[in-house]
């Protein structure tokens, strides 16, 4: 084995720094969770606009989806962190700065809200009209129908696709070190600068991401399949 290759797979260095790196990984998870909450709520909001009977609201929903779905994560991250505070600062005539963590959550949350909006919309539109008629016939309000009849079915139907989007979102959290959010990749590059041995550190990071995503995704997929099958004929 060549020296380079041997070094790349010598993960003892990764292990030595496990506490720092684990902390970085926890930041990834935290960014992911916060961005996921934002993406889901903004996505649901946009989807509800997209299926609204009133044209201007529908248009607004489409605008949201198209703007954020077509913005690359990286560009959005930089734009939200550096440009958006400037614009807001000009508007309110005060110096504004975003905390890197907040920028990361906002940027990733918005980009992925565009994807989730489309998934929600497809799910909402796949619900048979009769299901809603039945709710209305029994005197349920539109809000009650949304929470009790539409959303529980949408969530079940959209799970496989949403799972893929969650995985993409989690992977996207690895770029937040670009704006100095201290995540795993950030820590890896810091340690690399000290140790001058980038290969095992990056290999370790790749393995850690792979294992966590693979194990979580397999678990969720198996669970969601069982759950879905119960309601689908």
């Amino acid at each position: 084995m060549s020296e380079g290759l041997r070094q790349a797979f010598d993960l003892s260095l990764f292990w030595d720094y496990r506490v720092i790196l684990l902390h970085g990984f926890a930041v990834n998870v935290l960014v992911f969770l916060c961005a996921a909450v934002l993406a889901l709520s903004a996505g649901l909001g946009a989807a509800l606009l997209r299926v609204n009977a009133w044209f201007p609201l529908r248009w607004l929903g489409t605008l949201h989806v198209e703007v954020f779905r077509n913005a690359p994560d990286y560009v959005m991250l930089v734009w939200v962190h550096f440009v958006l505070p400037l614009i807001i600062g000009l508007a309110i005539r005060r110096r504004v700065e975003f905390h890197p963590f907040a920028s990361a959550v906002l940027a990733l949350g918005l980009v992925y809200s565009g994807y989730f909006a489309e998934t929600f919309r497809a799910g909402i539109q796949a619900i048979p009209r009769g299901n809603l008629d039945a709710g209305r016939a029994f005197g349920m309000s539109e809000r009650l129908i949304l929470w009790r009849i539409t959303l529980p079915q949408v969530v079940r139907r959209m799970l496989p696709e949403a799972l893929n989007q969650f995985i993409s979102l989690f992977k996207a959290t690895t770029i937040v070190s670009l704006i100095a959010v201290p995540d795993l990749m950030y820590d890896v590059s810091m340690v690399t600068q000290q140790e001058m041995r980038p290969l095992p550190l990056y290999t370790g990071a790749a393995l850690a991401y792979f294992l966590v995503i693979f194990i979580l995704a397999s678990g969720v997929r198996a669970f969601s399949e069982r759950w879905r099958r119960k309601i689908l004929a």
Partner: protein
């Protein structure tokens, strides 16, 4: 028979674009009566039922539930105002609806389907709603399927569950929109059997149906709808034996074979 009909339909018109589906339909249903609505596909039966509980808003005309108009109410100044949706919802819960496609909520068990509206709309405590639901499931002979999801049931069982769901709201009247039209013949009877029992128990019912035997044997009155208007109506003994209109005669002859 009380003076105020349980349901009064007055000159209901309904258009979809340029297509006029209902062209002035009026009739009364008194408490404990069963009224069957018959007619060819496209004659407006389903639309009429959907207009009665405002799932479709009539373009003109009005529906009264025990004398109270569904689409409007008096404001403080004594003027007629369109009823807000929240208020229409309140009136609607008095009418139990059974749909052709059952429309059970697939993500809830049979019991979940039956207790949902009593808990969320009528605000019954869960224990009380469950007891009520079990009673309704017993009436449709579906007690053993309470824990199943709708996808696991036959069409007949699904429709009986849907009937239980409507009964659990303790409605003032039940509306059946071609309840057996999606069912195989062998499953039709189990649903019609349940409906016969409901009728015998004095349930007020409006039934849009193609089941002429059921209409003849169970109804107090039969309405023959043609092209969005009542072509003929009367007691089943009269209407099925001596139809006055030629159209009804022709319509019935198709079922005599």
């Amino acid at each position: 028979m009380s003076a105020i009909p349980r349901i009064r339909v007055v000159d209901v018109h309904k258009r979809f674009g340029t297509l006029e589906v209902l062209r002035g339909v009026s009739f009364d249903v008194h408490a404990g009566n069963v009224v069957s609505v018959i007619g060819a596909s496209g004659s407006g039966k389903s639309t009429l039922l959907r207009c009665i509980n405002y799932l479709e808003k009539p373009n003109s005309g009005e529906v009264y539930i025990e004398g109270e108009p569904l689409g409007s109410r008096l404001d403080a100044g004594g003027r007629r105002r369109p009823r807000p949706l929240a208020d229409i919802n309140k009136m609607r819960r008095e009418l139990g609806v059974v749909f052709q496609q059952y429309n059970l909520w697939p993500h809830m068990t049979v019991l979940g389907n039956v207790v949902e509206a009593p808990i969320r709309v009528r605000r019954l405590p869960r224990a009380e709603a469950t007891a009520l639901a079990e009673e309704c499931l017993r009436r449709v002979q579906l007690t053993d399927k309470a824990g199943e999801y709708p996808a696991r049931l036959s069409g007949g069982q699904q429709q009986r569950a849907a009937i239980a769901r409507a009964l659990a709201m303790r409605p003032k009247a039940m509306l059946f929109d071609e309840p057996t039209s999606s069912l195989d013949p062998e499953l039709t009877d189990e649903v019609l059997g349940v409906m016969r029992e409901l009728a015998a128990d004095g349930t007020t019912m409006i039934v849009a149906t193609h089941e002429m035997d059921f209409a003849r044997e169970v109804s107090d009155r039969v309405i023959f709808l043609h092209d969005g208007q009542i072509e003929e109506e009367g007691a089943p003994a009269e209407l099925f034996v001596r139809p006055k209109s030629e159209r009804l005669g022709r319509f019935l002859s198709k079922y005599r074979k």
